[in-house]
């Protein structure tokens, strides 16, 4: 417990100097940078500071996983709370790199649906891998399902998928007729077999969100699986693009705390405040990503029109598949990732 002396000092000082000092508690919060982190600063971080007095230092890491590993290997991490893909919180937890959440100290997290949290992390923000298409190529009758995406007769044109199996395998199974409720555990062989069918028609296997947006904006691909926030940004710039939430793969990043974090207790307090429905309801005001806590939709802060644009509003969520981080961090999930490069390369 390296943080004990520090807590003792802080409490001692607080006794001497009054409660004002308790508010000087601080944490280091890490997210993925860019417009996304800026939106969070306004939607979540600033309101949390206002509500709790926790001073939030920020850091940025587009791929935090190797850094988590390096920081915790030394036993003295410098980060406290990270916003990262759920599977990294999960496998990190299993490998002793992530602290368990102290649910007793987190009423707003404890009140959330159990499927949106686990021992180590809680759903923080939702996005969706959706089917986007060029309205130049297909007009208003664009593809509406992954079966349409695979149907090169009815929808001729170039296509692009993410160069990663996550969400792509799910889409392949839905294209092959698997009902959304029966996706997990995934039949990986069946998914890859279906992907072989569409492979000759894939112009680009994209690697970054910016690239997927550019493919749509430049008309390089007529149909793209892309993240909803990227698609709506391109549409806002006036590109002839449309998309559907139908059969989207709903994904979320989660908050988790590094093992041995320097400000462990404050970190747990921060998560509880950040996950409260009122603060979570700020997300849609700044970015097209949905609140991790679905109770935010009941606060009255999110208008019906705005909710309709959000990936995880109750109505949109019902059309989609909730990605299973547990499956992807399981040995089968890791094997599917190993297999991916060989598939794309051949």
């Amino acid at each position: 417990m390296t943080s004990m002396p520090k807590i003792a000092t802080v409490s001692g000082l607080a006794l001497c100097l009054g409660v004002g000092w308790l508010n000087a508690a601080e944490i280091t919060f890490v997210s993925q940078g860019g417009a996304y982190q800026e939106a969070q600063t306004k939607a979540i971080l600033d309101p949390v500071t206002e509500k709790t007095g926790i001073v939030i230092k920020q850091d940025t890491s587009p791929d935090a996983w190797p850094v988590i590993r390096t920081q915790t290997a030394t036993g003295k991490p410098i980060w406290d709370v990270i916003d990262t893909p759920t599977k990294d919180c999960l496998r990190g937890g299993e490998q002793g790199m992530i602290e368990k959440l102290d649910l007793a100290a987190m009423p707003s997290v404890a009140a959330m649906p159990a499927e949106l949290r686990n021992d180590y992390s809680v759903a923080y923000e939702f996005y969706s891998s959706v089917l986007a298409y060029s309205t130049d190529a297909y007009g208003e009758n664009g593809p509406q399902s992954w079966a349409d995406f695979w149907d090169v007769e009815k929808f001729p044109g170039t296509r692009a998928l993410r160069n990663h199996p996550l969400a792509t395998l799910e889409a392949a199974l839905m294209a092959d007729g698997v009902a959304p409720a029966d996706i997990y555990p995934m039949d990986v062989d069946r998914a890859f077999k279906k992907l072989e069918e569409i492979k000759p028609h894939i112009t680009v296997w994209w690697t970054s969100g910016a690239q997927s947006a550019q493919l749509l904006a430049d008309g390089e691909a007529d149909m793209v699986m892309a993240w909803n926030g990227r698609v709506s940004a391109v549409m806002a710039e006036g590109a002839p693009v449309g998309f559907t939430y139908n059969q989207g793969i709903l994904q979320y990043t989660s908050l988790c705390v590094l093992k041995g974090a320097p400000n462990l207790e404050t970190a747990m307090k921060f998560i509880d405040a950040a996950m409260s429905p009122e603060i979570q309801a700020n997300f849609p005001e700044y970015i097209d990503y949905g609140p991790g806590n679905p109770a935010a939709y009941d606060t009255g802060k999110i208008s019906a029109e705005r909710a309709a644009q959000m990936p995880n509003s109750p109505e949109n969520a019902a059309k989609q598949v909730l990605n299973s981080a547990a499956w992807w961090s399981s040995p089968e999930g890791e094997k599917a990732q190993e297999r991916w490069a060989a598939f794309v390369q051949q």
Binding site: D63, W65, P66, R69, T158, N163, T203, V204, W205, W206, T207, Q211, D218, G219, E220, E334, Q337, E338, A341, A342, V344, Q345, Q346
Partner: protein
């Protein structure tokens, strides 16, 4: 002059040697700390697993098919880029070396100009030119040369094109330096003995320019082996090079050792290439020190 009985050096010579050592010390320290040290550490890591010494990272070369195909693809692209750079660079260097007045600086300036632009900017520029609705396809389709846009990017072709653009100076400059040193009298002598232009070029100029050819080719080939951003942006996911294999391994196996082992193998292959090149032509001449 005092003569040292053991080394046979005068005190002046010894002083000079000490001076050289002192002058070299900062550079040697930097190279040792920043190059040799990390390399040794990487080598050590490549044999480390969660339970100490392991060969598991090297075993993947035999079990994971992606390893072999990545290396094959990387070497194929490096070979294509080198050949293309030679075909484009040789005539260019020849003209620059033979021309007079303001032409050599203009030609070399044009070759060097792209150097001042970031690799990223150049990659995106190629994307804009070569994509489906890009400049090249638009012109070709609208002038009726082709019916359907050609696939010029997001594949190996686009990768080779952009890499070639970036590395061409590395071919032209050693070639130019070598050609400039070939005495014009030798060609005149050849001509005076009755040789035609082509014969003189083939039997006099070409053999004498070979050190430049080898130096440029080795440079371009080895640099291509380590390319990352260009194939990532222009390969459309189809060019999966060794550099990407390194990053995939950190992501997938969550161990620096997995990535280190690939780097070690690539490094050994590069050493091997230099070794082969130096049997063709002495190393000093490749690097242009003498």
């Amino acid at each position: 002059m005092a003569q040292d009985a053991n080394t046979g050096l005068t005190s002046e010579e010894r002083r000079e040697r000490r001076m050289i050592l002192i002058l070299l010390a900062p550079a040697v320290t930097v190279v040792g700390l920043l190059l040799i040290g990390p390399l040794l550490w990487m080598c050590w890591q490549s044999f480390q697993g969660p339970d100490g010494f392991t060969l598991v990272h090297y075993q993947r070369f035999l079990t994971d098919t992606v390893y072999l195909s990545s290396f094959v693809q990387t070497f194929r692209i490096a070979f294509l880029v080198t050949i293309a750079a030679l075909l484009l660079g040789y005539p260019l260097a020849y003209v620059a070396a033979k021309s007079q007045g303001i032409w050599p600086p203009i030609i070399l300036g044009m070759v060097l100009l792209p150097f001042w632009t970031s690799v990223l900017v150049r990659a995106y520029a190629w994307l804009i030119l070569l994509q489906r609705r890009g400049l090249v396809n638009t012109v070709l389709v609208e002038s009726g040369v082709i019916d359907k846009p050609l696939i010029l990017v997001n594949n190996e072709f686009g990768t080779v094109m952009a890499t070639l653009h970036i590395l061409l100076p590395f071919m032209v400059l050693p070639l130019y330096a070598t050609m400039k040193k070939i005495p014009a009298e030798l060609e005149m002598a050849g001509a005076s003995l009755g040789g035609g232009g082509w014969l003189v070029f083939r039997s006099v100029f070409l053999p004498l320019s070979l050190p430049g050819v080898i130096a440029g080719s080795v440079l371009v080939f080895v640099l291509t082996l380590g390319f990352y951003i260009t194939p990532e942006l222009l390969g459309g996911g189809r060019t999966f090079l060794v550099s990407m294999l390194v990053s995939r391994n950190i992501e997938l196996y969550n161990e620096w050792g997995a990535a280190s082992s690939i780097s070690m193998v690539l490094l050994l292959l590069v050493f091997l290439i230099f070794r082969l090149a130096s049997t063709l032509i002495p190393f000093e001449r490749i690097m242009g020190t003498r």
